[in-house]
C-alpha cells in the first residue's frame, strides 16, 4: 500500500507525472453547496448542524401533494459560478433523476441533465494550466444517512437513520474536462475552484463540513493514446484525500496494466485511514436513472440583462487579482508568482496594493504580506482586522528608506497586528531609530576586535562564523543594525585584512 503513496521521480511538465510510462487522466466532479438562506425548492433553512429533521417541510420531505418552487438566489449564484468559470450561461430546464435511496425523499432527484444552465467554460490554475469545464448545473442535495451497528460501515450496518435537513439544499455540480494529470494538479484545481466559489459568494468553501464534495474520475494511458477505462472515486473529503486517492488509484491502475490485467469500470470508495480505494459498485450494477423533464418546474431563461446585472455585481476573481497584483508589484519569476498566489489566496492583496499606491517598493510589500501577514493569518485570520492598509504601507516605506531594519520592521508589524497602532508610534516607543553608517561600521569593528579568535576562523573560510558576528553586532546595537548591512561590512573588512601586507 505505502509504496503507492510514496513520491516517485516526477516530471514537472504541465503538472503531468510519469508513472512508468503512463500518465494519469483525471476529471473532477465538484458538488458545491450554495450559500443561500433557504433550500432550493422550499423556504426551509439551509443550515449545517441543526437538530435532525427540524429544517423540513412538506416540499423537502417529498410529502404527497407538495410542489417545488425554485429559489431565485440559488439561480443567481449558479450564474455567478458559470460566469466566473467562463461558461456559456444558457436557457435551461430541470429533469428528474429517478432512483431509490432512503435519503432522497421523493425517490428522484431534481437536477439538470442535458440542458444545464452553464456549459463549456474553463478555469486557469495559478501554475498556468487550463482545465476545461464541461458544465456547472443546479441540483438538489440529498438527506444524510447514518449507518448504525457494524462499526458504522455501510456494508455491515444493522440499520440506518435518515435526517432530511440537508435534503433539498441547493448544489451546483461542476464537471471538469479530463484535463488533470496528477494528484497534485487535482488539488491545485480544487483549491483554485474553491477560491473562485468563495470569491463569488457561492460557497463557504468548507470541505470538512461537506460544503464542497469531490468525486474523481481516474484513468491511465500512455501519452497520446486514447483514454483508458475509468474509475470513479467517491468520499474525497479534503484536498489531502483527493491528492492521495488520485495517486493511489493511478498506481493501482498502472500496476494492473503492467502486470497484464485490465481496469474494470467501477465506482470506488476512498478509505482515508487505510489509504486505498475499494470497489463500491461495478458497471453492471449501474442504475437506469430514467431522466425526464421535471413537469413541476418551468424552464429557466436568463436574459442578457439579468446576466449583465450579475456580471457587473461580481467581485474580482482570484486569477484577475493575481494578475493585477503581479502587474502592480512589477515582479517576475516563479518565486514571485508563488508569493502572489499566497497573498491572493489569503485575501491580502489589498495591503500590497495600498503600499504600492503609497509609493513603497512592491517587492518588499509583497514579501512582508506573503511571509509575515500570511503567517499571522494562518494562525488567526482575525488578527488582520486591526491592520489598516495605510499603516502597512507606511511600515513598508519606512523599511525601504532604511528607517527600520528588516528585523525591526517585522517586530513593529507584529505589534501593529495586535494594537492597530501606526508603525511610527511603535518604532519610536521601541527606540528603533536607524544607525548612521559611521556608527554601524564602528560597532562592527569593535565586535571584530573583541573576538579575534572567531575572526581568524572567519578569515580561514568558516562561513558560518558570519552569523556569529551578525548576532554579536545585533546585540551590541540593541537590534538596531540591519543584518544585510552588517554582512556587507564584514565582507569589506575581510577584503581589507586579506589585502594587508
Amino acid at each position: 500500500m505505502s509504496a503507492y503513496g510514496s513520491e516517485r521521480q516526477r516530471r514537472r511538465e504541465g503538472g503531468a507525472r510519469d508513472y512508468e510510462g503512463f500518465e494519469c487522466v483525471v476529471g473532477l466532479e465538484v458538488h458545491c453547496e450554495l450559500l443561500t438562506a433557504t433550500k432550493l425548492f422550499c423556504g426551509c433553512k439551509n443550515a449545517f448542524g441543526d437538530e435532525p429533521n427540524t429544517n423540513t417541510c412538506p416540499v423537502c420531505l417529498g410529502l404527497p401533494g407538495s410542489l417545488p418552487v425554485l429559489n431565485g438566489h440559488a439561480v443567481e449564484l449558479a450564474m455567478r459560478i458559470g460566469l466566473a468559470l467562463n461558461c456559456t450561461v444558457q436557457p435551461s430546464i430541470f429533469h428528474r433523476k429517478n432512483y431509490f435511496y432512503p435519503d432522497m425523499p421523493k425517490d428522484y432527484q431534481i437536477s439538470q441533465y442535458d440542458i444545464p444552465i452553464n456549459t463549456d467554460g474553463y478555469l486557469d490554475l495559478p501554475s498556468g494550466a487550463r482545465v476545461g469545464i464541461v458544465r456547472a448545473h443546479i441540483e438538489e442535495d440529498t438527506g444524510k444517512t447514518t449507518h448504525s451497528g457494524g462499526g458504522g460501515r455501510i456494508h455491515d450496518a444493522m440499520y440506518s437513520l435518515v435526517d432530511y435537513n440537508r435534503a433539498g439544499v441547493p448544489l451546483v455540480e461542476i464537471v471538469s474536462e479530463p484535463d488533470i494529470r496528477s494528484g497534485e494538479q487535482a488539488r491545485e484545481y480544487v483549491s483554485e475552484l474553491r477560491a473562485v466559489l468563495v470569491a463569488v459568494g457561492a460557497s463557504d468553501g468548507r470541505m470538512e463540513e461537506g460544503s464542497l464534495r469531490v468525486d474523481a474520475n481516474v484513468s491511465v494511458r500512455r501519452p497520446g493514446e486514447p483514454f483508458g477505462t475509468r474509475c470513479e472515486i467517491k468520499n474525497l473529503n479534503s484536498l489531502r484525500s483527493l491528492g492521495r486517492a488520485v495517486d493511489y488509484e493511478t498506481r493501482r491502475q498502472v500496476d494492473l496494466l503492467v502486470s497484464g490485467g485490465a481496469v474494470a469500470q467501477e465506482t470506488r470508495h476512498w478509505d482515508e485511514q487505510a489509504g486505498h480505494t475499494v470497489v463500491m459498485r461495478s458497471k453492471e450494477e449501474a442504475e437506469d436513472y430514467r431522466y425526464f423533464p421535471e413537469p413541476d418546474l418551468v424552464p429557466l431563461a436568463p436574459d442578457a440583462a439579468w446576466q449583465e446585472r450579475i456580471s457587473r455585481a461580481m467581485a474580482p476573481l482570484p486569477a484577475g487579482r493575481r494578475r493585477a497584483l503581479l502587474d502592480s508589484v512589477g515582479a517576475e519569476g516563479p518565486a514571485m508568482v508563488e508569493r502572489v498566489a499566497t497573498v491572493v489566496a489569503q485575501d491580502l492583496d489589498g495591503y500590497v496594493m495600498a503600499a504600492v499606491d503609497a509609493g513603497a517598493p512592491g517587492a518588499l510589500a509583497l514579501s512582508r504580506a506573503a511571509n509575515e501577514l500570511a503567517a499571522a493569518c494562518a494562525e488567526d485570520a482575525s488578527l488582520l482586522d486591526a491592520l489598516e492598509p495605510g499603516h502597512f504601507a507606511s511600515l513598508v516605506a519606512m523599511e525601504a528608506r532604511g528607517d527600520l531594519t528588516a528585523t525591526q520592521a517585522k517586530a513593529v508589524l507584529a505589534e501593529m497586528l495586535t494594537s492597530g497602532e501606526p508603525p511610527e508610534a511603535i518604532a519610536s516607543r521601541k527606540g528603533f531609530e536607524a544607525l548612521d553608517p559611521g556608527s554601524l561600521r564602528r560597532a562592527v569593528e569593535e565586535v571584530v576586535a573583541a573576538n579575534s579568535a572567531e575572526w581568524e576562523r572567519y578569515k580561514e573560510g568558516e562561513a558560518k562564523m558570519a552569523q556569529f558576528f551578525v548576532g554579536q553586532v545585533m546585540k551590541a546595537t540593541r537590534q538596531k543594525a540591519d543584518g544585510k548591512a552588517v554582512m556587507a561590512l564584514l565582507a569589506d573588512l575581510l577584503r581589507g585584512s586579506a589585502g594587508a601586507p
Binding site: 437538530e51 435532525p52 429533521n53 449507518h147 456494508h155
Partner: protein
C-alpha cells in the same frame, strides 16, 4: 382507432423485461403477475404502434402546456414543520431520525 388484443407471440414486452422493470421501480411480482403484466403492457404498447411510427422529425416536444419561464421564489426563510409532526407519520423512528433496515441489498444466504 384501437384494434383488438394482439398476438402474444409478437408481444413487444418480454417476461425478462418485466422482471427488470419491476426491479427498477421496486415492485415484487410473482411469475403469474409477470406473465400477465407482460401481456397487458404489450397490449398497450401495440395500441401505441401507430403513434410510435408517426413521423415527428422537426417537431419540438411539449413537456408542458404552459409558456411560463423563470418562476422564482425569493430566498426568505419560512417556518418548517415541527420535528414531532415530521416524525409522527413515520413507520420507525430513532433519535429524531427515520429508521430503515440496512440500505444495501442483503444477498440471499447460501444454503
Amino acid at each position: 382507432m384501437i384494434g383488438s388484443a394482439q398476438d402474444p407471440e409478437q408481444a413487444p414486452v418480454s417476461r425478462e423485461e418485466v422482471e427488470q422493470v419491476a426491479l427498477l421501480c421496486r415492485l415484487e411480482i410473482d411469475d403469474g403477475e409477470a406473465r400477465e403484466l407482460a401481456a397487458q403492457m404489450s397490449a398497450v404498447l401495440s395500441h401505441a404502434a401507430a403513434l410510435l411510427s408517426l413521423d415527428t422529425s422537426g417537431v419540438d416536444p411539449t413537456a408542458h402546456p404552459l409558456p411560463l419561464v423563470n418562476v422564482l421564489r425569493t430566498d426568505e426563510v419560512r417556518e418548517s414543520l415541527a420535528q414531532g409532526d415530521v416524525l409522527s407519520q413515520a413507520p420507525d423512528v430513532e433519535a429524531g431520525r427515520f429508521r430503515v433496515p440496512p440500505v444495501r441489498r442483503r444477498q440471499p444466504e447460501e444454503p
